[in-house]
């Protein structure tokens, strides 16, 4: 089975600073990331701010120029696509953003917002589009009369449903969801998580889920990739990653998630230090200055993402639970 959406060695560099007499420096926001999203699969990208999650998503969508590597849709390199092929891809890959307040046009009624992608891609007649809007509203759990109202008349959770309906309108095969829950109240987050899971089982869509919320990712993802300073440090099936994390950073990230009902915290377990500036990333393994397992080699050579079990990869010289060869 070939992947729907795939990156090979995707690298994104930004020029920063620089002026008339000062050379610009370059920041590598995404470094050599190769990930493949299979049909019907949910692949999650986790990491803290500055890890490159959002830049990676933007590069896949063609919203940020790629410096090296490639993005392929249905096996076809987007760089060499013909115009019709590119249009087909734009229709098949849709996005849901974090902020349902900023991503919906406040001057359009909800029906027009949802029908817009259909119009852009010249799908159907105005009548069939109107029918499709009602069908989509029902699919995301909103009443048909919502189409005549405006975004400000809806709560945050309802707006995120509208954004999801709009993304679903052109019957995409992939939805890239960038922090779809983080602007919502806790009781609303579970409603949206359930909706995303239900849509997946009803229409067999693939999700690229970008999130810092490890519990939400655990709920929805089939596979998880952990990013640190632009590099994939671990990639594994969900249960393997949560139960047997091999990279010390993944382990620390999981240990940092506050647990309900485990009693008051015992200070002293937190990961030390801040995420380093991507302008001056540490040599070798980017994580070595904060890592309890680091040795001399970690400061010198960046470890490659290597298999440690079936489908489980880690970029670490001293992965947890793996005996040195």
């Amino acid at each position: 089975m070939s992947p729907v959406l795939q990156t090979d060695g995707l690298t994104v560099r930004f020029a920063v600073g620089g002026g008339l007499f000062k050379p610009a420096r370059s920041v590598q926001a995404v470094s050599d990331v190769s990930l493949a999203l299979q049909a019907g699969e949910t692949l999650a990208l986790v990491g803290e701010s500055g890890s490159g999650k959002t830049t990676f998503a933007r590069a896949m969508l063609g919203l940020t120029p790629i410096s090296d590597g490639s993005v392929r849709f249905d096996g076809q390199d987007v760089a060499t696509m013909t115009k019709p092929q590119r249009q087909a891809m734009r229709r098949a890959v849709q996005v849901v953003f974090q902020d349902p307040f900023g991503s919906l046009d406040p001057r359009l009624p909800v029906g027009a917002i949802i029908a817009e992608p259909l119009q852009v891609h010249s799908i159907g007649t105005s009548r069939s589009r109107a029918e499709r809007v009602v069908e989509l509203l029902d699919l995301v759990g909103l009443p048909a009369d919502a189409r005549n109202r405006y975004p400000h008349q809806f709560s945050g959770g309802q707006r995120q449903r509208i954004a999801i309906a709009r993304a679903l309108a052109p019957a995409p095969r992939v939805i890239i969801a960038d922090e779809p829950l983080s602007a919502l109240d806790v009781s609303i987050q579970s409603q949206i998580l359930n909706l995303l899971a239900e849509l997946r089982s009803r229409i067999g869509i693939s999700y690229f889920l970008i999130s810092h919320d490890l519990a939400a990712v655990h709920h929805l993802a089939d596979r998880v990739a952990a990013l640190y300073l632009g590099r994939v440090v671990e990639l594994a099936p969900r249960d393997a990653l949560y139960e047997r994390p091999a990279h010390p950073y993944t382990r620390a990230l999981l240990d940092s998630v506050p647990r309900i009902g485990a009693g008051k915290r015992v200070p002293g377990t937190a990961l030390r230090g801040d995420i380093p500036s991507p302008l001056a990333p540490p040599t070798g393994c980017h994580f070595h200055p904060r890592c309890g397992r680091a040795t001399a080699i970690c400061a010198e050579i960046a470890p490659a993402l290597s298999p440690i079990a079936t489908g489980h990869f880690a970029a670490c010289h001293h992965p947890i639970g793996v005996n040195p060869a």
């Binding site: 803290e48 701010s49 709560s155 959770g157 109240d185 806790v186 009781s187 609303i188 987050q189 579970s190 409603q191 998580l193 359930n194 899971a197 239900e198 810092h212 490890l214 519990a215 939400a216 655990h218 709920h219 949560y242 620390a252 990230l253 999981l254 240990d255 940092s256 998630v257 506050p258 647990r259 309900i260 009902g261 485990a262 009693g263 008051k264 915290r265 200070p267 002293g268 377990t269 937190a270 990961l271 030390r272 801040d274 995420i275």
Partner: protein
């Protein structure tokens, strides 16, 4: 209970002049030395207003009712200048976004020093020296150099450490932390939570810790107060509230959060949204979203009942 440092009794806050909205509707709780009261609830439930009422920072036009006693002395109705003397000195507060709370054009060391000069009448040089000590105490490496840094030169976690240094500068008896880690990454959040617990252990300060994140509340609190639409829904010892929640809202909050240890195909949900405070009916504010609702719930606001573990629900004894 003799050890209570601060006692809030049926605290109410109404905002607005012509058509006031009751933001807090009869909140009662106590803060004890060395202990943390965790306040949890969703947006609009009154968490932050509780903090502002304690600090005496409720925005005008407002009306505050009930009682707020610090060490046996009433705070409500105190003239503003007396209230201001307490702020920073006996009660201090840290916020979610330190960038907006810090002065962007003043070095962080100078900001802390200024505070010591005002409240403790320290000499400029002594204040400067103490500012560096405080930065060191909150875990900022190379504190003497970092004291010269401006807020924008520091990371989010560092800025929150600076805020905490400023808050503890005058050794307050009560620290109010309003979503102090919400803007931070999880690994940095863990560091800040550790720091607050260590400071509490060393100074014996009482904490009012506000968060929408039940995991964070669980890890920080001795007691938990669950708020809903400006009222207390449930209140009790932390372990008890989390293991045996009795209010349907608390139960719902705990169940709806995905749990890494117990994955469920479909998450339980609380239907509907947090109500607009103007549209709270005569009964329980949670009634429209409650699965256990009966007619009596809609006719009168249920009182808090129970011993150390209380809930404001006439259906609290009914199994979900």
């Amino acid at each position: 209970m003799t050890s209570a440092l601060l006692v809030a009794d049926r605290l109410t806050v109404s905002l607005g002049q012509s058509d006031p909205v009751r933001i807090l509707d009869g909140i009662s709780f106590q803060l004890e030395r060395g202990k943390t009261l965790g306040v949890v609830g969703e947006s609009g439930c009154g968490k932050s207003m509780t903090a502002l009422a304690l600090m005496g920072l409720v925005p005008e036009p407002q009306r505050t009712g009930g009682s707020l006693m610090l060490d046996g002395a009433e705070l409500l109705g105190l003239p503003e200048e007396r209230r201001r003397m307490l702020r920073g000195k006996r009660l201090a507060m840290i916020f979610q976004e330190p960038m907006t709370a810090l002065n962007p054009v003043m070095s962080v060391g100078a900001q802390i020093a200024e505070m010591l000069e005002v409240h403790e009448h320290a000499s400029p040089s002594a204040a400067r020296k103490r500012a560096v000590e405080l930065l060191d105490q909150v875990g900022i490496a190379a504190a003497a150099e970092r004291a010269h840094a401006f807020p924008h030169q520091l990371s989010g976690g560092m800025r929150q450490r600076v805020m905490i240094a400023m808050a503890i500068a005058c050794r307050p008896e009560i620290l109010i932390a309003d979503e102090p880690t919400t803007a931070l990454d999880v690994s940095v959040q863990a560091q800040i939570l550790d720091l607050l617990l260590e400071l509490q252990r060393d100074t014996g300060m009482a904490m009012l810790f506000i968060s929408h994140n039940l995991g964070v509340i669980s890890e920080m609190s001795d007691e938990i107060m669950v708020m809903y639409a400006g009222r207390v829904a449930e209140h009790g010892p932390a372990a008890d509230v989390l293991a045996h929640p009795t209010h349907p809202y608390t139960r719902g909050l705990i169940e709806t959060i995905p749990d890494i240890a117990h994955r469920q195909a479909t998450l339980p949900v609380i239907e509907g949204n947090v109500p607009n405070l103007r549209q709270r009916g005569p009964g329980c504010a949670f009634a429209p979203r409650c699965k256990l609702v009966i007619d009596a719930c809609r006719s009168a606001v249920p009182p808090l009942t129970g011993g150390r573990h209380q809930a404001a629900c006439i259906r609290a004894a009914v199994p979900a």
